[in-house]
Amino acid sequence: MDQDFLPALPIGDWFAALVTWVSDNLGGLLSLIGFVLDDLLYEHLSDLLTAIPPLIMALALGLLGFFVRGWKFGLGSLIGMLAIQAMRWWPESMDTLALVLIAAFFATIFAIPIGIAAARNSQVSGVVRPIMDFMQTMPAFVYLIPTLFFFGIGATPGIVATIIFAMAPGVRLTELGIRQVDPEMVEAGHAFGAPPKQILFRIQIPLAMPTIMAGINQVIMLSLSMVVIAGIVGAGGLGGAVYSGITRLDIAKGFSAGVGVVILAVYLDRLTAALGSRSAVAKATKKTAPAH
C-alpha cells in the first residue's frame, strides 16, 4: 500500500515538543525533584548503607530475614549477602538497594491512593486502567530518554523512570484488593453508621491488605529490574556494573554483577512476601485454617 495513503502521525515529535516545553518551563520543579531524589535521599541513603561494614550489614539483613520468615531464610540471606561481598560487589549492591528503596517507596506512595480512588470510583478506574496498561507495556528503556532529558546523567532519571515503571501493579492490586472486599462487610459498616473514611481505613484496607502487600511486593521487584536497566543513564550500582560489562564485552563482570542482582531480588521478594502474610487478615486466615 502507498505509504502516503495516510497522513504521517508524528506522535514522537509531539512528545518531544512536550518534553522540551516541560524542561524549558518547569525547570525549577525538575531541579527540585532532582535535588530531593538525588542529593537529599539517594546520596545520604547510599552513603549510610555503604558506611556500615559489610559483615555487620550482612548480619543485620540476615537477622531481619530470620525475624520475618524464619531461620532458614535468615541463614540463606546471610550467605547470599556474604557472597555479594565475596564477589566484591558490596558498594554497588548497597547503591542498588538504596535506589530500589527510594523508588519503591515513592511508587507505593503514589500507587496506593490512586488504587484506592480507582476502587471507589468507576470513572477514575476507567481513566487509570488504560494509563497503567500504557505505563506497564511501554518498553522500559523509553522512560529513560525523557528523564535523561529532564535530569541529566545520574541517579535521578533512573529513580524517576523506575517510579513510573513500577507503579502499575501497586495501583492495580490495591484497586483489586479493595474491590474484592465482601460487599456485606462494607454494608455492615454503613449499617452501623460508620462514615466512609472509617469504612475505608478500618474495613476495606485491612481486609484488602494481603492483596495490597502482594502489589507492594510486585512494585519492589519491578523497581529492582528497572533500577538495573537505569544503569544505562548512570544510575550506578549493580546496573552500572552490568552495563559496563555489556559495553566492554566483559563476560565475567557482567555475569557476577548479574548474580548479585539475583541475590538481592530473591532477598527482597521473599522478605516482602513474608511481610504480606503478617497482616491481621492473613494471620486470622492462617489461625483459623483447618489443621490438616
Binding site: 465482601d182 454494608e187 455492615a188 449499617a191 452501623f192 453508621g193 497482616s279 494471620k283 483459623t288
Partner: protein, 401 residues
C-alpha cells in the same frame, strides 16, 4: 401506640428514569412492562408500620423485594418515592451525616452471611457498633461482653470469627446488634444460612431475647415456617408489592389472594410430613414365641393396653390387646394363637400424614409403620398424629433431621 417504623407508599425503582417509572406504577403499569424498558421495580407502594416491641416479618421469595425494603428502613437505599419514618422522623429527608446518626443510635442490623470482620476478635466484632458511636474502649468492651453473654457466648471474646461454627458466628452478629442498644433491629435472612436445627435454636433464642429486651424487630425471611414462628405480624411480598399483612393465623385461614393461598397450601404440614417423620419407636414389642404371661408382664411394666408382636427378624406378626391377654392368662393358655390380631392396618414410611387419618380412624391400635421386609420401624399413636397438625417443635425437628 405510635409506630417505631412507618413506611408510607415507598417505592424503590432501579434504572434510568426511575421517577417516571414510579408514576407509571402508580397509574397501574405492571412490573413486566417496565422490565421490558430496562427498569427494575424492586419495591412498589409499600405501606406498613411496626409498633414498639413487635416482631414484624417480611416474607417473600427471592427477588420479591424484601431485602430492598429492609435496606430502605435504615437508609442504606434511598426510596425512589414515599416516606420512611423512624421514630416519627422521615429519614428520606436527612443528610448523609444525620442518617448515620439514626443508624448508630436507633437501628442496628444482622446479616444473612453474618458480615463479621475476620481480622477482629469476636469481642471486637461485638463492640463494632459502639466503636463507630465513639464509645470508650473500656465501656464498649464491657457492653460487648455483656451482649455476648446474652447470646450464650461467654468467654469467646478473644476467639476469631473463623474459629466459630455458623450458628455461633450469627450469635456474634446478634450480639453486635444487641450491644448497640438500639430499639430497632433489622434482620436480613439472619438465620437462612444456618442448618435447620441451629436455625430453630436461634429462633427460640431470638424470641426469648425479644421478650427480655423488648426490641422492635423487622425480620426478613423466605421461610414461611420461620415467619409463622417468629412474626407477631407477617407481610407477604410478591414481585415488589406487599400482598397481605396479618398475623400468622389470619394469613393461614384468610389468605388475601390466590398467591398467598397457594403459598400457605404449599407448606401444609400434613402434606409435607411423612409417616417416618412423626413415628415413634414402640415402647415395647413382644417376641412371637412369647406367651400371654410375658405379654401381661410387659403391658403392666410399661402401662400399655396393646403390644405389637414381631418375629426374630423384627417382622410384624400382629397385635395383642390387654383384655384378650388378661383372658388368656386367666384361661391358662400358653400361646398367643387365639388372641393375636393379624388383620390390622399398617402404613409404610413414606405415606403423607394427610393420608394416615383414614387408616388411623379404622384402627383400634396405634398405626404400625413398616420399613423394608415388613419390619416394624415405628408406631404412630393417634395423639401423635393430631399433634403433627399443630406447628409443633418436636415434629419440626424430626423434619429437619
Amino acid at each position: 401506640m405510635t409506630p417505631l417504623i412507618r413506611s408510607e407508599q415507598t417505592f424503590k425503582v432501579f434504572g434510568r428514569g426511575a421517577e417516571d417509572a414510579v408514576d407509571k406504577l402508580r397509574a397501574g403499569a405492571s412490573v413486566e412492562e417496565l422490565r421490558e424498558v430496562g427498569i427494575t421495580a424492586a419495591v412498589i407502594d409499600a405501606t406498613f408500620d411496626v409498633s414498639p416491641g413487635e416482631i414484624f416479618v417480611v416474607m417473600g421469595l427471592s427477588g420479591s423485594g424484601k431485602s430492598t425494603l429492609l435496606r430502605m428502613v435504615n437508609g442504606l437505599l434511598e426510596p425512589t418515592a414515599g416516606s420512611m419514618y423512624i421514630d416519627e422522623e422521615d429519614i428520606t429527608k436527612l443528610s448523609a451525616k444525620q442518617l448515620r446518626r439514626v443508624r448508630s443510635q436507633k437501628v442496628s442490623m444482622v446479616f444473612q452471611h453474618f458480615a463479621l470482620f475476620p481480622h477482629r476478635t469476636v469481642g471486637e466484632n461485638a463492640a463494632y457498633g459502639l466503636e463507630v458511636k465513639g464509645v470508650g474502649k473500656t465501656e464498649r468492651e464491657a457492653k460487648a461482653a455483656e451482649a455476648l453473654g446474652m447470646v450464650g457466648l461467654d468467654g469467646w471474646g478473644d476467639s476469631l470469627p473463623g474459629q466459630l461454627s455458623g450458628g455461633m458466628r450469627q450469635r456474634v452478629g446478634l450480639a453486635r446488634a444487641l450491644a448497640c442498644e438500639t430499639q430497632i433491629m433489622l434482620m436480613d435472612e439472619a438465620f437462612s444460612a444456618l442448618d435447620p436445627l441451629i436455625r430453630r435454636e436461634m429462633q427460640d433464642q431470638l424470641i426469648e431475647l425479644q421478650h427480655r429486651l423488648d426490641k422492635t424487630i423487622l425480620f426478613i425471611t423466605h421461610d414461611l415456617n420461620e415467619a409463622m414462628r417468629l412474626g407477631d405480624r407477617i407481610a407477604m411480598m410478591r414481585s415488589g408489592s406487599i400482598v397481605q399483612i396479618g398475623t400468622a393465623e389470619q394469613i393461614l385461614h384468610d389468605p388475601a389472594n390466590d398467591y398467598v393461598a397457594q403459598f400457605v397450601q404449599d407448606v401444609d404440614r400434613t402434606r409435607i410430613l411423612t409417616a417416618s417423620s412423626v413415628m415413634e419407636p414402640p415402647v415395647a414389642v413382644l417376641g412371637s414365641e412369647s406367651g400371654p404371661m410375658a405379654a401381661h408382664k410387659l403391658m403392666r411394666d410399661h402401662q400399655l393396653t396393646e403390644l405389637f408382636v414381631v418375629d426374630r427378624d423384627k417382622r410384624l406378626r400382629g397385635v395383642v390387646f390387654a383384655p384378650d391377654i388378661a383372658q388368656a392368662v386367666h384361661n391358662g393358655r400358653s400361646d398367643l394363637n387365639d388372641v393375636l390380631q393379624t388383620d390390622i392396618a399398617t402404613v409404610t414410611r413414606d405415606v403423607a400424614i394427610a393420608d394416615l387419618f383414614s387408616e388411623a380412624a379404622q384402627s383400634r391400635a396405634a398405626l404400625p409403620v413398616l420399613g423394608e421386609g415388613d419390619r416394624l420401624d415405628g408406631v404412630i399413636p393417634i395423639v401423635t398424629l393430631l399433634n403433627a397438625l399443630k406447628v409443633e417443635p418436636a415434629v419440626h425437628e424430626r423434619e429437619a433431621v
